[in-house]
């Protein structure tokens, strides 16, 4: 009888240790799940490239017509300032050494425009040109690229297709 009681006490102790172990495993599991989900940043680069493209379009065209002075060297020289775009980033992962953005506008003649057209009438760009090399590659750890087009006119009624190519890199934070 005494032996049975002692046996029961020992069994209870083992079960309590087991319960603590299970509790610890479950807590660690929940902690891992929560931290793996909420610890990673939201990847908003798709929105960023869209905004860049919209901002650039707004900068060159208004109410259906190209803004004055867009197809000039002066606009090319002060593209970002004129459009009110800044490519600044936080000082981490060496992002300040090389731009994490690229923005390019190509103006084509509407009547002679073809999808594969290489020679634009006018081109303006800013940012890190090397990012263009990654746009045809598929996979997780690459910059996000967006190429969009719109139709516009100048004051003389000449028709243009404007192709906007916007790229955001920031892969270190978004592709883990």
């Amino acid at each position: 009888m005494i032996k049975q009681k002692m046996n029961k006490k020992a069994a209870d102790k083992i079960i309590s240790v087991y319960w603590f172990a299970i509790l610890f495993i479950v807590a660690a599991g929940i902690f891992y799940m929560v931290s793996s989900f909420y610890g990673k940043p939201y990847d908003i680069r798709q929105i960023e490239v869209g905004l860049l493209s919209d901002k650039a379009a707004d900068c060159v065209s208004y109410a259906g017509f190209l803004r004055e002075g867009v197809l000039t060297q002066g606009f090319k020289d002060s593209f970002l300032e004129t459009c009110g775009i800044t490519f600044g980033t936080e000082d981490s992962y060496g992002w300040t050494d090389e731009s994490e953005y690229f923005l390019q506008l190509n103006f084509y003649d509407f009547d002679s425009y073809q999808e594969a057209s290489q020679n634009s009438l006018f081109e303006v760009s800013a940012g890190n040109q090397r990012l263009q090399d990654f746009c045809n590659l598929k996979g997780k750890g690459f910059p996000v690229c967006l190429e969009r087009k719109f139709y516009t006119l100048d004051k003389d009624g000449k028709k243009y297709i404007v192709k906007i190519n916007s790229i955001v890199k920031k892969i270190e934070k978004n592709s883990q």
């Binding site: 495993i25 793996s36 929105i47 087009k149």
Partner: protein, 183 residues
């Protein structure tokens, strides 16, 4: 003594199975949490899209384009009430040419045409005090066909499917509308 041992083995087995179940459920949950990061943490622009800035700019430029006689597309539509040979084909060239690929590659997802506001609700009553329930009627045209979301509907039902709509007023009742569906 023997019975006691059997009881102990039975209890141990229960706990071992319980432990395995707990670990399996936890592992599955961790996997789901890790993979859902991919899905839920990548935010697409189209989630919040209510307008397509570039398509809107193209629409304004399109309406300002003159034909060989110098008459703008906006004026042509205002006078003729629908698309004609010049502005219909030109519209196809611009809107299907530039945006069809972006909107699921489906030609019927890009529609340009005339939408007219009526003064009645679905039940035939006057909608003067509740303009959101006024019936909108779209005119079919030979270039873009029938409006993909239906030729009749209220403003509320017109916006029930995720799509971008750009609209320019022709007169008090008529608008020229560009619908881009999908993405």
């Amino acid at each position: 003594m023997k019975q006691n041992k059997r009881g102990q083995i039975g209890e141990t087995m229960t706990w071992i199975i319980a432990t395995i179940i707990i670990i399996v459920v936890l592992t599955i949950s961790i996997f789901i949490a890790s993979f859902s990061v991919e899905k839920f943490k990548r935010i697409q622009g189209s989630y919040f899209q209510t307008a397509d800035v570039l398509a809107s700019k193209s629409l304004y430029s399109y309406l300002s384009t003159p034909d060989s006689s110098g008459k703008k597309v906006h004026t042509q539509i205002e006078e003729e009430g629908n698309l004609n040979e010049f502005n219909g084909n030109f519209g196809l060239q611009i809107f299907r040419g530039l945006y069809q690929e972006e909107y699921l590659g489906n030609p019927s997802n890009v529609w340009l045409g005339i939408v007219t506001e009526t003064e009645e609700k679905v039940n035939g009553e006057n909608c003067e005090n509740e303009p959101q329930f006024c019936i909108l009627e779209s005119a079919e045209n030979v270039f873009f066909g029938q409006r993909p979301l239906g030729s009749r509907g209220t403003r509320l039902s017109y916006h029930s499917i995720p799509y971008t709509s750009e609209s320019v007023q022709i007169d008090n009742k008529r608008n020229i509308e560009l619908n881009l569906i999908g993405k």
